[in-house]
């Protein structure tokens, strides 16, 4: 029996010896500006999904910013933050952010130069005495002939029950307007849920591709995305118009893309904001967090939706006493 014990002991010790170390060790903390710029550059270089599409010479960016980082004093965190934010800004992507304890960077170039196409003061005229179901503000307009829903953020959740009550309030309406202007996105599950009542069966609405390696073009095959008709039992088969503008971003952009393929749906307003890349986050050596696009999304024709979606009816707001986009939507519903 003693022999057996020795044998077991030797076998266990042998297995321990066989085991090796893992190749990739954790990064140690560093406040050094050059180390952090290098670390940030590396994260984007290997994990960001749009480098090729942005037409940026990412290697040249590295040389430029590493040289600038070398000029920063080791304890000047604000200067380092601004430098890192500047490097990320070159990606012109609203999903790219840098988070520190004292600031958050964000690129706004994708909507800064576009028409606003939204005025909350005018919109309030259509939401007088409105009701609120979950994150959905709703009201009947045009003498009760049109239902109007304003959804300000896909981070605000709602349920199938909320949708049931909204539709019940719109029983007498000829059509429905869903306004996702200035909706900066949120949870894409809410985009699928909100679009669900307008589909009677699951339909292909696009594709996604995820990164499979460190090279800029290491992507998986196109994987299909489908609208989920089963998420919400209540169905809307009358006309529906989706309003969007340049600040309809990320999950709102995906919602617009889904609704393009819904029967009896039209998209009205300005070009949506884009933000088709699914975001992911990682940390720099000094603990700051960087968020970036990591998964590409496409429409049904395999066209990237990162730069936004063109509406069926493009219209800008010019009036000062009414919302031209809502009025156009009302007109379209009557013409259906």
């Amino acid at each position: 029996m003693k022999t057996k014990i020795y044998f077991i002991g030797i076998a266990l010790a042998g297995m321990r010896l066989l085991s090796g170390c893992h190749a990739k060790e954790e990064m140690s903390y560093s406040a050094d500006p050059v180390t952090n710029i290098e670390g940030l550059w590396q994260i984007i270089d290997t994990r960001y999904c749009y480098i090729e599409d942005k037409g940026i010479d990412w290697s040249a960016i590295r040389e430029e910013y590493v040289a600038q980082a070398a000029q920063i004093k080791p304890n000047d965190q604000v200067a380092l933050f601004d430098l890192c934010a500047g490097m990320l800004d070159s990606l012109r992507d609203g999903h790219v952010n840098l988070y520190s304890a004292f600031d958050r960077s964000a690129n706004t170039a994708w909507f800064d130069t576009c028409p606003a196409n939204f005025d909350s003061r005018l919109q309030a005229l259509y939401l007088q005495n409105c009701r609120v179901a979950g994150g959905l503000y709703y009201n009947t307009i045009d003498s009760g002939r049109v239902g109007y829903i304003y959804y300000s953020s896909f981070s605000n959740s709602f349920s199938a029950g909320n949708i049931y009550w909204v539709f019940k309030a719109f029983e007498q309406c000829e059509g429905l307007i869903i306004d996702v202007r200035n909706n900066g996105g949120g949870d894409i599950t809410n985009a699928y849920r909100l679009s669900s009542p307008f589909f009677t069966e699951n339909e292909l609405i696009g594709y996604w591709r995820h990164k499979t390696g460190p090279a800029h073009n290491d992507f998986s095959d196109f994987e299909p995305l489908t609208a989920d008709a089963s998420m919400v039992g209540s169905k809307w088969k009358r006309p529906v118009v989706v309003l969007c503008n340049r600040r309809s971003y990320s999950a709102a952009n995906l919602f617009v893309n889904i609704m393009r393929y819904a029967p009896s749906a039209r998209i009205v307003g300005g070009t949506s904001g884009g933000g088709g890349g699914m975001p992911m986050s990682y940390e720099m050596p000094n603990g700051w967090m960087v968020r970036f696009s990591s998964v590409r999304m496409y429409d049904r024709d395999k066209k990237d939706i990162e730069n936004g979606i063109e509406p069926d009816v493009k219209i800008s707001m010019t009036s000062t006493d009414k919302d031209d986009i809502i009025e156009k939507a009302i007109q379209l519903i009557h013409e259906f």
């Binding site: 029996m1 014990i5 077991i8 266990l12 297995m15 321990r16 066989l18 085991s19 090796g20 893992h22 190749a23 990739k24 060790e25 954790e26 990064m27 140690s28 903390y29 670390g39 994990r47 952010n97 988070y99 520190s100 304890a101 894409i188 995820h210 990164k211 499979t212 390696g213 290491d218 994987e223 699914m278 975001p279 992911m280 986050s281 990682y282 940390e283 050596p285 000094n286 603990g287 700051w288 967090m289 968020r291 990591s294 998964v295």
Partner: protein, 313 residues
């Protein structure tokens, strides 16, 4: 003379008939223990002395169980390069239960036959932690659940005061970590099922009013499988079912080592366990590294109970 007293202690710990009054008393005490363990690391319990892995003597009938309910608090270091390149450190608090039992003591085979020196053990544990990175800028929240079962053969020497047990053990574990300060609430999962080798040694000794037992328990992985996300895969893809990497694991690519040194103290009406435990779980691929290394303080209480075969429904 001393030796006789010691023998008496050993016998007393084993042969405690659980008549109706004792059972009612024990139920009451266990209820109090469960409540107290939620709020305080102190409890009282039935005064029987747990002897893990010890088959019940041939003269007794029924299945005897030794149960150890314990809390563990420890300081740990966590590495998850899927979520962060930095190490995270912090406190973790957990609750665990383990039960030891000899095989089939209600049969002759179990009492005196081939199974006489065999026993089995089951464990379940739950732990939660809050860890901070070395830059003090971000948080991990972690939740860890594991459960396992094993069988062992027990050798006894020196009037049963020295015992050694060795055997196989199967453990399943699941852990989830969330990046607390991340806007996308990114999560990372550990899933593993491992066949392990376990062993232990215990030494009983006796004071004037108190009996003691020093235990050392160890288990380490032999073979199993674990789950690793692809380095490029986003948390959202994982949640949508894009497969990660399920792979065969063993000492060549996954280190699991769990061991603890504890002291059991038997007082007239309660038996306590105090000690320290260390857990190491370290695995990865060329791109990713996951590591969990923790030292814990363990406080528990031990009691025995017996299921009489004649009382079965």
């Amino acid at each position: 003379m001393k030796k006789k007293e010691a023998r008496y202690c050993v016998n007393r710990e084993i042969v405690v008939p659980l008549h109706r009054d004792n059972v009612a008393y024990m139920k009451k005490v266990i209820g109090i223990i469960l409540l107290l363990f939620i709020f305080l690391p102190l409890s009282a319990q039935e005064g029987t002395y747990g002897t893990e892995g010890e088959p019940v003597s041939a003269e007794t009938y029924g299945q005897e169980h030794t149960n150890v309910l314990k809390i563990h608090a420890g300081y740990g270091r966590q590495i998850d390069t899927y979520l962060s390149p930095m190490a995270y450190k912090g406190w973790q608090l957990g609750l665990g239960n383990e039960w030891w039992q000899a095989f089939r003591q209600d049969t002759k085979l179990g009492r005196t036959g081939r199974l006489a020196n065999w026993g089995h053990v089951g464990r379940v544990a739950l732990a939660a932690g809050r860890l901070v990175n070395t830059a003090q800028s971000n948080l991990f929240y972690s939740l860890h659940i594991d459960a396992g079962w094993g069988a062992f053969y027990c050798w006894k020497w020196i009037d049963d005061r020295l015992k050694v047990h060795v055997g196989p053990y199967l453990e399943g574990s699941f852990a989830v970590r969330e990046h607390g300060s991340n806007v996308n609430k990114i999560v990372s999962f550990d899933v593993a099922v491992e066949a392990m080798a376990m062993g232990g040694v215990s030494w009983s000794f006796y004071g004037k009013k108190t009996s003691y037992r020093l235990n050392y328990l160890i288990r380490t992985n032999l073979i199993g499988f674990d789950f690793l996300p692809e380095y490029w895969e986003s948390y959202y893809e994982i949640s949508q079912g894009v497969p990660g990497q399920a792979r065969c694991s063993g000492p060549w690519n996954h280190h699991t080592l769990k061991h603890e040194l504890t002291l059991d103290l038997q007082f007239p009406h309660s038996t306590w366990r105090v000690g320290a435990a260390h857990e190491l779980n370290d695995y990865g691929t060329k791109d990713l590294h996951f590591s969990h290394n923790q030292i814990q303080l363990v406080i528990g209480c031990i009691w025995k109970y017996r299921i009489n075969p004649h009382s079965r429904l």
